[in-house]
Subunit: 223 residues, 2 copies
Amino acid sequence: MSTDVTEGADDPTDWRSVEPLDLTPILSASLDAFYESGFHGASVREIARRVGVTVPSLYYHHQSKEGLLIALLELSISDLRSRALAANDAGDGDPVQRLTNVIFTIVLQMTNRARLAALEGEARYLGPENWERYRAVRKGVEGLVLDIVHDGNTSGDFDADDPAETTRAILGMCQVIPRWYHAEGVHSPEVVARKYVEIALRMAGATRAPDMPTNSEPTEHAS
Amino acid sequence: MSTDVTEGADDPTDWRSVEPLDLTPILSASLDAFYESGFHGASVREIARRVGVTVPSLYYHHQSKEGLLIALLELSISDLRSRALAANDAGDGDPVQRLTNVIFTIVLQMTNRARLAALEGEARYLGPENWERYRAVRKGVEGLVLDIVHDGNTSGDFDADDPAETTRAILGMCQVIPRWYHAEGVHSPEVVARKYVEIALRMAGATRAPDMPTNSEPTEHAS
């Protein structure tokens, strides 16, 4: 799917570095429109006008306005899932390091791709079929974090009272980052990611500190 | 203001119990419309039709579609602020108890008033003037929690590494509750509130347990 809707050669297994996605012109204009006006407020005619294509030509690629939304959401959540899985693998079976890596890469997405990540709030406007598809991938990410918390409880590295609620709270605090990051972002994405890793480890009741990941490339925000 | 837009005699200082707000028919229909279609997707004509009033009559009370949104948002955030202040006062100067009470009442709002609380996601569509008014009240709530975390750090009851980021993370995990609570709510609002209090105390690094608040009335969800 990614060859269809993205350009460039972003590597989704490079969980330490999350660059803005290279979107096709149609998807880029759709993201702008959804961000400015919400799904129901966005106009397909206006999106087509911005890209310089006709509405029929836009529908040829994406069928409907919902087709544009699900394309963006799937792109976002699939990439998040790939990086979360790679981050988990890099934790070499250690629950503390797995949680650290996974939260690090998730927060990089919430900051470096804040507008795309904020689109999550529009997912509830999807029709039942697309919603179920999207939800399944998202549940997979939640399941990954839940497994890590469970494993840590078992190994004695964590002592979360309620692993499911702890998982939801950890992902919830990350999910809301796009709402404030653009407006208030005084820290680089990497600094925010490290702070949230520390907080997530507290939430799980981690008994020891991880190796804190570093970004694989220098960020332009860092001072 | 509350006599203008609400009916009923809900007491905003009763932080242990949060009932759904009694909205006027116009605001109730507006909340439905904003929830279903987002701010830009909602139609004032359709809202007026549902209430059975003319569009001019609706504008007589609320000036514009943005007037409807800010009325709902202010109602929500002012009530949340009143209850948070009352909850803080009831903590008698003890940071652990103050944080406990404040998070307890905030989570009750996020669950018992999930649709109203979810409207927070539409606040970014406010014009600059309304946005600043709304943001000021919201910042007040954030400032209250930040003060508690600072006080707890000073008294040795907490050891938050970064009080500002911890505060944002605590409020963030609460803010996102309305997104999943309706769909997945297997716990009563009170049970969710207690779980989130426990998690928030971990995030702040609380060194001791609080008196856990109980709801001032039996909830119908409780089994």
